[in-house]
Symmetry: C2
Subunit: 457 residues, 2 copies
């Protein structure tokens, strides 16, 4: 009754779709963040829900941990097998199963990525809007409650998943939700599994809400003398009912990095980058109303356009920002922080963070999703300087404390994983113990992604 | 260790805010539906969260059931004390605690009603959009995951509750969510409690998302020769990105009832009643685009207006519909059904239901929230004719079976309560057993609204 006996029992079921090769283990022990390599004992590539169920039943019997794996793009070590066991790679379950244009929904397997889905949807007039940046798998995005640049208009994964098929820790298969747009039929299991980070079950199918491709898209950019004015502009925009599809913020440091990286000529000031989706007439009206607010708030350099080539140029800053920031310090890698506060406290949160980074030994440009009160500092450290990782962790720690002090949350969109576990009690108090009670009720053997999200032991 | 000993222990805590008087018990044993009078053993009116916590701790110790009570407007018997015990009336916890205009949120106590909240918000430029018809308490609306006429634009209670304070069955107080707009920090406890119908905890405070009062409102009405054309028009409207704020349906029978009740001159045909929220220019554009779709789909009598007096007249049909329907059969009372299907199956669902009612001995006009695929038949029965209640239950049963066959849910917005409990297993399968596991983990003594939502025993 060990991991070893579990793998012996799995071998005849999976054949060469169960691997213990060093490269496979290493590939599933990496993350896009600062965590050390943490290889699992084996990697499995199931192809059907029935296989996932069989794998979980065997692992439950032998007490072998199971950690679902999507594309490995999470930033908080969610998919690392901290207690060993099986990495369950869902890459082969990557089909678009159904599209229902009249109902504006699609049924997909968890390994399909968001870009693949949108490619498949191109001719339907529909699209899936949630955009966390990475070309993540839709199962992983649901499991981590991903959001991103379009959340201010289209919501997070919690708003865009209508239903799930989930395999529980004992191999039972359940379905949550329906293709109806709403329901008052019992506990919202869909939204319990969305954001549960693989600790309650393995998502094997998703029903996703789609949206109409906008007839017209306008993009606008403007600069502000200080962060507070940019935040005031965002607040006024949202209050006035202007339906921005994206309203992104980059700070002066990010603008400088982009200029250096791609020979831009952005003023080295805080910027807002905004997008509107609607009819030709609608986006023109909204762009103009937004432009008026920008002037009122003292913004400068405002311009907007619906021409695709102009839009592309306008979004260059945002699209290249991460790479431009990485390139701004030679040989550095990034520790990406994440917090979210009520928007009225956003200027304070950004300014305090800016000052804190300035007083530290490492650089860290800031960018974020202004309409949600969510931002990230991209802290740049050198691997051969352990004091820099320590400085980054200390900055991240103070960002978390700041988020809680300002009435926010320790993670707006990157999730808990291994990186934010130590802050859960402070944010949730007795609610965190309740999460543990729920975990034990749903996964009594504790084989699903152990060591994550809920209290230990 | 009984209900009696619990009430003895509660008496010194609550004084005259604990009642066993017949009128109080009767008032808390009624519902707005067909359930027989089911009085609790006592009614308590707590005034603070600390009192609720004390009451629950005492009731847990003595094994006394506790059933939260808002305004008693639910339609499925949610607030009836099926196993006796205490009705916990939250009417005295009805304050608006905080409004944050910049963050567009408000913190309220659970006994505040939605109309009271909107009255208090009038001068802020903000409003709370969820509108289930009844002037329900916001705590009750959260507990039942209420929705209604504006859901197509603004979402259900699940989309508009940012956080909760909840007293658990053992008296512990937890807080879920924050005032930040989004979070990836652990299980979504907020959305677990929203829709849990008082079976997991007592909501003692809510943080609600507010929306900007629209600068302009336009309303439009039109008639169709048949239900299918009206549904096609709704699908085309939503697909084309026209942001309706309401898109309501009434059938020919409802139009006839309204004509008889208020001397209207509506054609006795299926109607759509639509509302647009936005800028003057925006709602004019959307009304016109909608009008074009109406013509394409063969609709007739289309007219729209932004003048308040015209809007009032246009909405007369919808506002008076329930009373007009009730008045259409002398001495009758209503059994209100509720189902929700994918919108592509809505025409089928309505037409089959229409035919089924026509073949039954009782009348039942149909109306609903077309954009969500959600509709209700208002079945009219006489109390002195038990065969009519039986016929209504049989029609409701077949509606439920129809909803499931068409890929929908047994309740779009009225909830499970006592009325839909018998359909939970059919809709959710093993997911319903999981709901029971969660219930036992969160409320191990089983004192919170027993006999509802989860598997018995």
């Amino acid at each position: 009754m060990t991991i070893t006996t579990a793998l012996e029992a799995l071998s005849p079921v999976l054949g060469d779709r169960l691997s213990r090769s060093k490269p496979d283990l290493a590939a599933h022990g990496q993350s896009e963040s600062y965590f050390p390599l943490t290889p699992p004992d084996a990697v499995a590539w199931p192809e059907t829900t029935a296989e996932v169920a069989q794998i979980l039943a065997i692992c439950a019997e032998h007490g072998c941990p199971v950690v679902p794996w999507g594309t490995g793009t999470s930033l908080e070590g969610h998919a690392l097998a901290l207690e060993g066991g099986l990495s369950l790679d869902l890459a082969r379950m990557n089909r678009l199963l159904e599209v229902h244009p009249e109902d504006m929904d699609a049924v997909v397997q968890p390994g399909l990525t968001r870009e693949e889905l949108n490619r498949d949807l191109r001719t339907t007039g529909l699209f899936f809007p949630v955009d966390p940046g990475a070309n993540a798998s839709l199962g992983g995005m649901a499991a981590t409650r991903a959001s991103g640049t379009t959340t201010v208009r289209y919501g997070t994964m919690a708003d865009n998943v209508l239903g799930l098929e989930v395999v529980l820790g004992d191999g039972r298969v359940i379905r949550t939700g329906t293709r109806a747009r709403k329901s008052a039929s019992g506990y919202d299991l869909t939204r319990l599994f969305v954001g549960s980070e693989g600790t309650l079950g393995v998502i094997t199918e998703l029903t996703l809400r789609l949206h109409g491709q906008p007839e017209a898209i306008a993009a606008a950019v403007c600069a502000f003398g200080e962060i507070g004015a940019a935040v005031d502009c965002v607040i006024a925009t949202i209050q006035s009912g202007i339906k921005v599809a994206r309203i992104e913020f980059v700070d002066a440091e990010t603008a400088a990095a982009v200029n250096a990286y791609s020979r831009g000529e952005f003023p080295e000031k805080p910027h807002l980058l905004v997008e509107f989706h609607g009819s030709e007439q609608g986006v023109a009206e909204e762009s103009q109303r937004f432009g008026e607010l920008v002037s009122e708030m003292g913004g400068e350099g405002f311009r907007w356009s619906t021409r695709p080539e102009d839009r592309r140029a306008l979004w260059e800053m945002r699209h290249t920002a991460y790479w431009a920031i990485l390139a701004s310090r030679k040989g550095a890698r990034a520790v990406v922080t994440d917090l979210c506060v009520p928007i009225s406290r956003l200027a304070e949160a950004v300014e305090e963070t800016r000052a804190d980074i300035a007083a530290s030994p490492i650089p860290g440009p800031i960018l974020g999703h202004m309409g949600d009160g969510n931002f990230h500092a991209i802290l740049l450290i050198h691997d051969d300087a352990p004091e820099e990782l320590a400085a980054a962790k200390a900055l991240s720690h103070r960002m978390v404390e700041r988020a809680l002090r300002l009435g926010g949350t320790v993670t707006g969109e990157h999730g808990v994983g291994a990186g934010k576990l130590d802050y859960m009690e402070e944010e949730h108090g007795a609610g965190w113990a309740l999460m543990g009670d729920i975990k034990r009720a749903v996964d009594p053997k504790g084989i699903l992604n152990p060591g994550k999200l809920v209290p230990r032991g």
